[in-house]
Amino acid sequence: MIAVLPAECTDEQLSAIGLVLEGRGWTSEISRGEEQVILLVSGPEREADLEFALDGRVDADVIAVDDARHYERGRRNRRRMHGLVGGLAILVAFGLGIPVLGYLRAPQSVFAAYEFVPVSSLERLGENSALPVRVDSRLVLLVRQTGRQLYALSGLCTYMEDCQLEWNDARRQIVCPCHGGVYDLYGNVVEGPPSIPLASFEVDLIGSEIRVRKGA
């Protein structure tokens, strides 16, 4: 039989217990550990009697050695539970982690808002001239200089946002019919009330197809 005693037991307490056990016909051997003291007891009586003998003197656990398999099984169940919780935690980590990774990517609608849209072809635009087109229901002026040099300017006057600009072929200038503002082919103000030049948009030329980028 084994009695497990707290590590705090002093040598005096242990010798006192040893004497008590001797008196009842038991022999005992002591083994000190970091966290407990083991008392190996052999004698004629059973565990219940040893418990009774130690009761009140010291807080001890009495273990019969042949219970080994029972104890090990108990701990195995607990280890299985720990494993289950650990597994569940990993599952949850992946279950939440993968959506978070997806979340961090910019959504498709944001990419779509900056796509290139085909608006016209090179043949319809003469050199040193501008052509008004609609990109996403917004007015944009396509400007061609010489050869394949192209850019796009905002088609709204910077003086009053809701005034749509027109291309004056004769004067070779962009004019605002509302307040008489005039811009050159580069979008700079030539005369009139506007003070801010026209904003530009990205243009892509694929073959003879002209594409303008949506968004600013």
Partner: protein
Amino acid sequence: MIAREEGLLAALWSVLRKPVSPEFRSTFVFGWMIVILFVLQIVTGILLSLYYDPRPAAANESVQLIMRDVSSGWLIRGLHHWSSTAILILALCQLLRVFVVGAFRRSPTSWYLGCLLLVFVFAQAFTGALLPWDNQAYWWANRALESLESIPYIGQTLLSFLNGGPEVTDHTLSRAHALHVMVFPWLGLVAVAVNVWLLARQWTRQRGAER
């Protein structure tokens, strides 16, 4: 197994392995849940702030972008919203439990910190509800601040502090955003950390050492 090197890991491991006093009760799990929820709030809050646009004209639209277009945006926003509800309920339950069993006697500092935390959690919930800048939030803020105005002497000053103006304006959203993202999280974090440290110290102290 965690490598047993000297230093931070070893210190952390020794803390985790400390025996906890046998008087420890299972209802103490409320506090642990509050800590975890707090961390969850911070993480989901950071994720939400990646898409949230605090400009008044764009705030609502950005929230709708999160719910509609962003992959798993509904999950992140839902977690943030529901964990705020959970944290409120748990904080109230925790405070009630601590009061009823008299645990505040053992550590009054913990009680004060807990009360402060409850105030922070309420403030977070209120400022957070304002951030989507939708109709409900706007009119609720209006009504709440109307009642503040009626306080004599300090009403107008309070209004000016909390509102950034005489009534709910764009400045209110800026203030709510600053408080929700930059003020209360830090205060809450400090309060939680100190509270956890105090309680861990209390419950892992060996009875022999106390005598």
